[in-house]
């Protein structure tokens, strides 16, 4: 509407009582929490919002036309943020059937890099406390951006694997469960999407079990490389390329619209 400038906001013409009622209806219909977030950060990461905005437009277009564009949406999601991998699960139906999609950016990063003994790894931990209760995870992805780095043999193949960290103890290596692995050419650039659905389900049911995920990079000759060295962007990278997680949910009960 705004783009067409056809319909103007009529809010100002309402009386204060009507304004309150209208606001209450909007919050209820859109399933929004009772109030805006307290302190918007000055410069939040923009990678997740850009991805989610893309998803929003695809989902809205699907709603308007009433036709299933599931596969297209899956493709679209990738088209907007091209990934290097063909292993990503088919998100089309997952996106079409999702009631809620959440992206997580609050990130704790640790890594073992060039200054320490191999194998090198990088850990990512998201704050998943806001996971909506009463909804089930249908799919979850960890997205990280790979840039081009100097000194890389472009045709070399990198094997990037992501593990869920289970049961950590101070004196021993944690237990790791493989979630996904992608083989990517060292000379290409773009988003990588790793399927972390099984870990997300566990974290939703047992929030304390969320110890994060660990990422390893190896060459064909099983030589361990540092994530930063092969161009994987961390939370100190450009805002539009910082890593994030996205989780798709289905609601267990169908919300009904309150009468106006």
């Amino acid at each position: 509407h705004q783009a067409q400038g056809v319909v103007h906001s009529s809010f100002r013409r309402l009386s204060s009582r009507e304004k309150k009622e209208m606001q209450r209806e909007i919050l209820s219909i859109l399933g929004l929490p009772g109030r805006p977030r307290p302190h918007p950060p000055l410069r939040p990461p923009s990678s997740a919002p850009l991805f989610m905005l893309d998803l929003y437009h695809a989902v809205s277009a699907e709603g308007d036309e009433g036709n299933g564009i599931g596969n297209e949406v899956g493709g679209l999601g990738h088209a907007a943020l091209p990934t290097l991998s063909t292993h990503t699960p088919p998100l089309g139906t997952v996106v079409s059937e999702a009631d809620t999609v959440m992206s997580f950016v609050n990130l704790v990063e640790q890594e073992r890099d060039l200054l320490q003994p191999r194998p090198y790894w990088k850990e990512f931990r998201f704050d998943l406390t806001p996971l909506p209760q009463g909804e089930t995870v249908t799919a979850a992805e960890f997205r990280i951006y790979k840039t081009l780095t100097m000194g890389q043999r472009a045709n070399r193949t990198l094997h990037i694997s992501v593990y869920e960290i289970q049961r950590e103890s101070k004196h021993r290596e944690p237990e790791l469960v493989l979630l996904d692995i992608q083989s990517v050419p060292a000379g290409q650039e773009g988003w990588l999407a790793f399927d972390v659905t099984s870990a997300s389900n566990r974290w939703l049911l047992h929030p304390r079990s969320n110890l994060g995920i660990r990422l390893y990079v190896e060459t064909e000759e099983d030589r361990s490389l540092s994530a930063g060295w092969v161009g994987l962007v961390g939370r100190r990278g450009p805002r539009s390329k910082q890593p994030f997680m996205v989780t798709f949910f289905r609601a267990s009960q169908v919300p009904c619209r309150p009468p106006r």
């Binding site: 509407h1 906001s9 209208m22 977030r37 989610m52 809620t100 609050n106």
Partner: protein, 133 residues
């Protein structure tokens, strides 16, 4: 060729002959049943930094007359037509056909939560798409 006597009132149940261009009820200021929109921009609510999309909310509602569902610009169920005829015969017992939503469409919203995570919520069958009698 005699002109009817203007004083003589038309009988109440005199249904006009339906014609495809019959807009008489519209001209008399009574709007036919249709969807109306009250658009609220989120900027007005001070939510611009909170809700990423859409840019506003359209509070659609159905309003208008269902007196002549046979008119060209109105979609009406058979039930509404029958109800109108019965109403004309027994106005005290059967109400007129009413203007109501006939199709609902989904609505989605993209917003920040308290932890600056971005959330996309999709609600099916939540806003009025079309109205009818």
């Amino acid at each position: 060729a005699l002109k009817p006597n203007p004083r003589k009132r038309k009988p109440k149940y005199d249904l006009p002959l339906p014609s495809i261009h019959d807009h008489s009820h519209v001209n008399s200021g009574r709007q036919a049943c249709k969807r109306h929109e009250l658009y609220v921009s989120f900027s007005d609510l001070g939510w611009k930094d909170w809700v990423l999309a859409p840019s506003g909310y359209s509070a659609f509602y159905c309003d208008g007359e269902c007196l002549y569902p046979l008119g060209s610009c109105m979609n009406a169920t058979n039930h509404a037509m029958i109800q109108l005829v019965v109403h004309l015969l027994k106005p005290d017992e059967v109400p007129k056909a009413c203007c109501a939503p006939t199709k609902l469409s989904p609505i989605s919203v993209l917003f920040y939560d308290d932890n600056n995570n971005v959330i996309l919520k999709k609600h099916r069958n939540m806003v009025v798409k079309t109205c009818g009698c």
